[in-house]
Symmetry: C2
DNA sequence: TATACTGTTAATATAAATATACACAGTAGA
DNA sequence: TCTACTGTGTATATTTATATTAACAGTATA
């Protein structure tokens, strides 16, 4: 049995975003980007909860949510693993949340009578800006 | 003093989306699209509440939220009006909600390691699909 | 001024989201 | 088997979001 590894996740109870959601987003990102390989044993809910200074139940919820999404597999008494999702299904899961968010945004735009052209421009702006922020943040990490 | 007009808004207590939010989205749309002209007197909170079969407080919240956004102006004892926002400011208000939603969507995409190209494609897909749905719904209204 | 409209405020009810503790049950290995 | 680990289920606390009532205060006008 593989040794469970330390998961590089940062959460803060101060943020408005609930703990379980912060964890889900980051863990999902690690899995769908391939940084956590299929079959990887995750920390036990107690160990992970201790690491992140939160309740066992919160981790339990995260594992359960991601299992329902199909990207984790869990067995009582044994542990929780990254599921054996094929490349195709992984792509689908990866896109689902994004598509949902994009649709919500577009819907908002149509509600206030944005034209398609206008929406494309605003999208491009947002994308450029966040890409810039991200590369900026990456650079600062090394400081 | 102008006669307050009937506002064409449809709400449903059955939907998961809260009442106040349904009303806000639609009323904001009517104002920012120019269908409700600047200076227009809106129904009193009691009359509007009666029309929509909801509480006075719910309408009150809507008016207050939109006043905080700067697109309504309200005076105790007199009524609530569409604010005198210039074309420039109206454009800004109109875009704000959309930009926020788009940024959230893009952030989600970057979280799961989408490439910019991929996000552009997904955005275009979502836009096309919702445009199709909308024109479809418009057509059915006449049935 | 009287009255009949406006919006306002405070106190409260209800439901949903978030987070928790603790007792329970399955699994693996000494 | 015993022990020490896994996840599971129940019952509950806490907070936030949503919605409400009823008494209050400003405004316009007959």
């Amino acid at each position: 049995m593989d040794k469970p590894l330390k998961i590089p996740i940062q959460v803060s109870a101060d943020r408005a975003e609930p703990m379980y959601h912060q964890i889900e987003v980051q863990l999902r990102g690690l899995i769908l980007s391939g940084q956590l390989a299929e079959g990887t044993l995750l920390p036990s809910i107690r160990e992970f909860a201790s690491d992140l200074s939160c309740s066992v139940i919160t981790i339990r919820r995260v594992y359960q949510d991601l299992e329902n999404e199909g990207i984790l597999r869990t067995r009582q008494g044994t542990g929780t693993f990254v599921a054996q999702v094929g490349e195709v299904r992984r792509e689908r899961y990866r896109k689902e949340a994004v598509v949902e968010a994009l649709r919500a945004a577009v819907r908002t735009g149509l509600d206030v009578q944005c034209t398609p052209e206008e929406l494309r421009n605003l999208f491009e702006e947002a994308l450029e800006q966040l890409l810039a922020e991200e590369s900026g943040a990456k650079g600062e990490e090394q400081t």
